[in-house]
């Protein structure tokens, strides 16, 4: 097309031409919102009014008004659930790294939930947790009637049920990542260890775990920001009612339901800071090895 131009001229044209749209999109939809968010967070803006600067008032509200900081507690459920999620994923990834019949079937089935639409999953589990629904029927069949409760009605249970749904949804992702990491361990290491008399447990502790240590810790650290950002499953299933509002649900409601853009921006800024700190820690500790 412009082969008549010198490479030096072409270079400039290509650099500018290829970057201008992507950088424009990046600036408009990734960085400008963050900049605006900082600015809004110091105002009392409701979306229509004049923006009046209120200093740190919004931040003070988030950390002192129990209605707002209470939601951090909900995040803990998702945080601890992630440990279960990692454990299960690691267990199945290890098992399926060795010789197993119908390996591809099990691999596919365990992974498949991750691909599903979040709304579909939310509805599926609304049904599953209903009184006399799927879960209750299974529990009755195996004689565990005693533990049946209103899975989404009981305020002590609701967050466990929702976090459990979250585990069901995301476990397959960790599983496939761990499986990939384990499969990159060369086979002769196992063979050599077998000659030395190692059993499967030894192989797990001394070969598999050390080689995937980094990817496991990386995933665990990401769990902190993941737990704080939990949104879809609880929003779709309960809308945050009955004490199941997470930090993000609270933020979205504050902004779009109650029109407190300034306050919601302060909440978003806080979350952004936590995520950045967590990521910085992760990069610092695991950056070099990656």
């Amino acid at each position: 097309m412009f082969s008549k131009l010198s490479y030096k001229q072409q270079r400039i044209i290509i650099i500018v031409g290829f970057l201008i749209v992507p950088l424009g999109l990046l600036a408009t939809f990734s960085f400008l919102p963050v900049a605006n968010m900082f600015w809004y967070s110091f105002t009392d803006w409701n979306g229509f009014s004049e923006k009046e600067i209120v200093g740190f008032e919004n931040y003070v509200t988030v950390f002192t008004d129990p209605e707002y900081f209470r939601v951090f507690a909900v995040s803990l459920y998702y945080f601890f659930a992630t440990f279960a999620q990692m454990g299960i994923a690691l267990y199945f990834a290890t098992i399926l790294s060795f010789k197993v019949r119908m390996k591809n079937f099990f691999k596919g089935v365990i992974f498949f939930p991750y691909l599903l639409n979040g709304v579909a999953i939310g509805f599926m589990f609304l049904l599953f947790f209903q009184p006399d629904g799927g879960l209750d029927t299974v529990l009755k069949a195996i004689g565990l009637d005693a533990i049946i409760t209103h899975w989404l009605g009981n305020p002590d249970m609701i967050n466990i049920s929702l976090a459990g749904t979250s585990v069901w949804r995301y476990m397959g992702f960790n599983f496939i990542i761990f499986l990939g990491a384990i499969s990159s361990i060369p086979n002769d290491i196992y063979e050599a260890s077998e000659i030395d008399g190692a059993n499967k447990w030894h192989q797990f502790i001394y070969i598999i775990l050390p080689s995937i240590k980094i990817i496991v810790s990386l995933n665990l650290i990401l769990a902190i920001s993941g737990a704080l950002s939990a949104f879809e499953i609880p929003y779709i299933m309960t809308g945050g009612s009955n004490g199941s509002a997470t930090f993000v649900i609270q933020t979205v409601d504050t902004a779009f339901k109650y029109g407190k853009i300034g306050l919601a921006s302060a909440m978003a800024v806080i979350l952004l800071f936590i995520v950045i700190i967590v990521t910085a820690i992760q990069r610092k500790f695991f950056g070099e090895e990656n």
Binding site: F2, L23, L26, F29, S30, P33, G108, I236
Partner: protein, 276 residues
């Protein structure tokens, strides 16, 4: 020794079967319910299969009344434009950043890196004002520009892959007088094919399953995508779970087909796409 090996084996398969049941059961219950009539749904247990497997009434209702048809149409349009745009944008940026070393190239790379740290859901508070200000609220472009401007994973996938494409290819093409654009179009882009497959898969999963972007920016019912069309079932069909179940199945079936057809690529795509 042998007995111990046997117990281990039994435990292994028992846990695998248990895992498989846990993964399948919630889906199976929905699958059963989707074929049941209203009375059958209320009178039979969730694990009882439907009496008539040819009862497609619920699917018909979900598809037509439930706006799923519009949902599919809009999802496909948004999906195609987003995937095409992501591939073009991602490969262009990767080409320039990988092949040219210029003032500011490090900063630009850093800017794209930094953007992945921003948690998408929360910044919506401010993103909403921008999208609204640009007059994109309640248009498909709201979702499209957000998918193109905020989810930059494609750039990494392409950048990683570009490292493995030898610069000597560019150089020999330049000896033949090819322009930089020709090199990008005729040499780099075709060689990026495996990376493009990865991008299509990662992006495809994200866009098909995304809920909050269409929910916040395209509330108009003509603009519903699969996620939001399904979400709407919650109100009017609140008591008609058999119709909701048919809707859930309609949303799941394309995923299942894609998974069975592209299994290998999906596994590889996710494993390579996740390494940031």
């Amino acid at each position: 020794m042998k007995a111990k090996y046997l117990t281990g084996s039994v435990l292994k398969y028992a846990s695998l079967i248990l895992g498989a049941i846990a993964a399948i059961l919630p889906i199976l219950i929905v699958f059963f319910a989707a074929f049941k009539t209203g009375t059958e749904y209320t009178t039979t247990g969730p694990l009882t299969p439907p009496s008539d497997w040819t009862n497609f009434e619920n699917f018909k209702r979900a598809f037509v009344e439930g706006n799923m048809l519009t949902g599919f149409k809009n999802t496909i349009i948004i999906l195609l434009i987003s995937i095409f745009g992501t591939t073009i944008i991602g490969s262009m940026v990767a080409f320039v950043l990988n092949r040219f070393n210029f003032k500011g190239s490090k900063i630009i790379l850093g800017a794209f890196l930094l953007a992945t740290l921003i948690p998408g859901v929360t910044t919506q508070v401010a993103t909403f004002q921008i999208v609204n200000g640009l007059g994109l609220f309640n248009t498909m472009w709201a979702a499209i520009v957000l998918y193109l401007g905020t989810d930059i994973i494609a750039i990494y996938i392409f950048l990683q892959f570009m490292n493995s494409i030898s610069v000597s290819l560019d150089e020999s093409a330049m000896l033949d007088g090819a322009s930089y654009f020709t090199i990008y179009r005729k040499i780099i882009l075709p060689l990026l094919k495996p990376a493009i497959v990865t991008v299509i898969i990662v992006k495809g999963i994200n866009v098909y399953n995304d809920f909050y972007t269409p929910f916040l920016y395209m509330p108009k019912s003509d603009l519903h995508v699969i996620s939001t069309a399904l979400f709407k079932f919650k109100g009017p069909y609140g008591s008609e779970w058999e119709v909701i179940c048919a809707g859930i199945m309609l949303a799941i079936i394309p995923t299942l087909i894609a998974f069975i057809a592209l299994q290998k690529y999906i596994y590889n795509g996710l494993t390579s796409g996740s390494v940031k």
